[in-house]
């Protein structure tokens, strides 16, 4: 038989249940909100660069750095505004093209990425910047382009300076070792080549070395005609500048086959291991000088590779560019913690600008770029100069900025 209650009893019972009901709703909302907040606090770090083709080494180094920084952050309970966040990496292969980078930025933005590590080369950075600005994305890019960063792109940070800042001491070292008086600087005929080769050539000229520039179509696979042209001017040395490691290795191999015995330089992005492999061995390289983005023989710097293996369970990417990318990726994540946001890129940019440059592995540096780009958003850290003499690797010398 159903239990009957008067209207007064029902109202009293409802009145007694109301606080309980309200508390339940409040608790559910709080728990739901907390769960929602935890779900929302997933930071997607974009990794944008070439992951196939001759420049793949550079892109894979950048991707490896983003993965390491993400793994480190997750291991140390990455916390933003009191909330523990997880960091994941979303990558996109630009194939070293401007259009690939622009498409990549759109793709990453559509996946909820707000912070991008990369891109690597000048054409990519030129293609990515306007699209990233439209999406309000923060980009930590690398490129030796003359307009890599600028006041009109306040959310674009620069990983390392171009050859105007580091080429002179390396050319001096090579000049002392090999005594060259003329050089041909060879690079691709797009912004990724011309912006670097022209500056390299200026540096050679400023040190009394006759320099001529030679450009090739990106995508060239047979360099025999270019090599014949280079050798017709009988240079003492050849510098492959910012030619990707795969192209540089091929140029070296064909130069040696054509009988060139002089020193060969690579004053652009590093990739000596790949160059040696493609050229056919260190004996083929014979006399070689190159730029390293960090002092690669410093044990503290090399420890990054051990950390990578420990956290990610596989060998670190071969290209030493990774060790500098790690600094940029770590700083971007730390700036999020300082700014207390994983979405407001302007606040994170402010925090990044105010942050001292002091990496546990690579060491102390500073923010630079005001003089060259008109904005102080470029990392300036010690770098390295490598030398191979008569097929013997003489190692990488540490050079402080301004030395």
């Amino acid at each position: 038989m159903p239990r009957r209650t008067t209207r007064g009893q029902a109202a009293a019972a409802a009145s007694a249940r109301r606080p309980l009901f309200a508390a339940t709703i409040a608790l559910a909302m709080a728990l739901g909100g907390q769960a929602g907040a935890q779900q929302a606090c997933e930071v997607k770090l974009g990794a944008l660069g070439p992951m196939s083709g001759p420049a793949a080494q550079w892109g894979l180094a950048m991707l490896g750095a983003a993965e390491l920084a993400a793994a480190e952050a997750n291991a140390r309970n990455f916390t933003v505004a009191g909330r523990r966040c997880t960091v994941s990496v979303v990558s996109y292969d630009t194939r070293y093209t401007a259009e690939g980078a622009a498409a990549g930025i759109n793709n990453l933005a559509s996946q909820g990425v707000r912070f991008v590590i990369g891109p690597v080369g000048s054409p990519e950075v030129t293609g990515a910047k306007p699209v990233a600005t439209r999406h309000n994305l923060l980009m930590f890019a690398n490129s030796y382009a003359k307009n890599a960063i600028g006041p009109q792109w306040p959310l674009v940070f620069h990983l390392g300076p171009g050859p105007s800042e580091w080429a002179a001491p390396i050319v001096l070292m090579a000049q002392q070792q090999f005594g060259m008086r003329s050089v041909v600087v060879v690079a691709p005929n797009d912004q990724g080549g011309t912006d670097i080769a022209s500056v390299d050539a200026e540096v050679y000229r400023s040190l009394g070395i006759t320099a001529t520039e030679e450009y090739y179509q990106r995508g060239t696979t047979n360099f025999a005609p270019i090599v014949t042209r280079i050798l017709s001017s009988r240079p003492d040395a050849v510098d492959t500048a910012s030619s990707p490691p795969g192209d540089s290795g091929l140029i070296v191999r064909q130069l040696r086959q054509a009988g060139f015995t002089g020193p060969i330089g690579h004053l652009g992005g590093p990739g000596t291991e790949e160059i040696i492999r493609v050229a056919g061995g260190i004996d083929v390289l014979k006399n070689f000088y190159w730029y390293e983005v960090v002092p690669t023989e410093d044990p503290q710097v090399r420890a990054i590779a051990d950390e990578y293996k420990r956290l990610l369970g596989r060998d670190a990417p071969e290209n030493t560019n990774m060790w500098l990318w790690v600094v940029g990726a770590r700083m971007t994540l730390r700036a999020m913690e300082t700014a207390g946001t994983t979405t407001d890129t302007r606040k994170v940019a402010e925090a990044l600008r105010a942050m001292p440059v002091d990496d546990p592995n690579v060491g102390r540096g500073s923010w630079a770029g005001q003089r060259f780009f008109g904005i102080n958003q470029e990392l300036s850290l010690p770098f390295g100069a490598g030398l191979i003499v008569d097929g013997q690797n003489r190692g990488v010398r540490r050079i402080e900025v301004g030395q």
């Binding site: 090739y216 005609p225 014949t228 071969e318």
Partner: protein, 288 residues
């Protein structure tokens, strides 16, 4: 003066490689009426098969080249038999099918071998010197093999019953079929022959240049350019056009530089096509 002779040698060498690639490309178009966008993929695949045979199985390089030819030819044969054959008269469908195959091959190579160039070098090293002129031995070997392969293709096409049957199908498929030629048997053979040629070129050239999953990208462009210049479907046209392209590329790059070299090549091709829209040896209407 030695630059002139160096450019001549480079031109012949490039021309022979392009001819081998263009012959395969034009064979498929001439006989099947299909533009094979996967041609570059078979070139890269040939390189990787040879590399795997040498480094993985320890085979001597000549056997590795043979393996590359057989694998690429077999893949081409099977793909034509089971996929292309169903849509052989639908140009858009075959274009998409071959483009799709190219993407599958290059992505597959990327997944299996990774994006970086493996260490794969030509077994013959050193060079001959004639005054200031240096000729790499490996280029001479490749030139000789390319020459033999081109000769073999000509012999097959013009001196054998199989070649006569293929030419008959290219000339007029309906009449050839009524005369007893069987397209279902001959089309896969022609496709396999062409992809085997691309595989052969890849196995020969990638140890000298570079091997990567995207190695076929420029190959497709060059093959296309060459066969259009020679006249789509013309075997003699493809061979002569390949040599023209090789010489223009070599001389323009040596005397005008890498950037201007590429520009001159395309301008020359444009001028020739304006004068002869069907290419050097092309016909107005395909019979097939």
């Amino acid at each position: 003066m030695h630059e002139f002779w160096s450019a001549a040698i480079i031109g012949v060498s490039l021309g022979a490689q392009y001819a081998l690639l263009a012959l395969g490309f034009t064979l498929i178009f001439g006989i099947l009426g299909v533009i094979n966008f996967a041609h570059g993929g078979f070139y890269a695949l040939g390189g990787y098969v040879a590399y795997s045979a040498v480094s993985g199985l320890g085979l001597p390089y000549p056997l590795a080249v043979l393996a590359a030819v057989l694998v690429t030819a077999a893949l081409g044969y099977v793909y034509e038999l089971f996929v292309i054959e169903r849509f052989v008269d639908d140009h858009l469908a075959t274009m998409m099918l071959t483009l799709g195959l190219y993407l599958m091959i290059s992505t597959g190579l990327l997944a299996v071998f990774g994006p970086q160039s493996p260490e794969f070098s030509f077994p013959v090293k050193g060079s001959y010197s004639i005054g200031a002129l240096r000729i790499a031995k490996e280029n001479l070997v490749v030139l000789a093999v390319c020459g033999c392969a081109i000769g073999a293709i000509y012999w097959l096409i013009y001196r054998t019953d199989l070649g006569r049957a293929l030419r008959a199908l290219a000339d007029d498929r309906q009449v050839a079929t009524t005369q007893g030629m069987r397209p279902r048997l001959l089309f896969p053979l022609a496709f396999g022959l062409a992809t085997g040629l691309a595989g052969l070129t890849g196995a020969l050239v990638t140890p000298i240049l570079a091997l990567s999953p995207s190695a076929g990208d420029p190959v497709l462009v060059t093959s296309f350019l060459t066969v259009i210049l020679g006249g789509l479907g013309s075997i003699a046209g493809a061979t002569i056009a390949a040599l023209i392209v090789g010489f223009i590329e070599a001389y323009a790059s040596v005397y005008l530089g890498g950037s201007a070299g590429a520009l001159v090549l395309f301008i020359m091709v444009l001028v020739i096509l304006l004068a002869r829209p069907t290419g050097l040896f092309g016909r107005q209407i395909r019979g097939a």
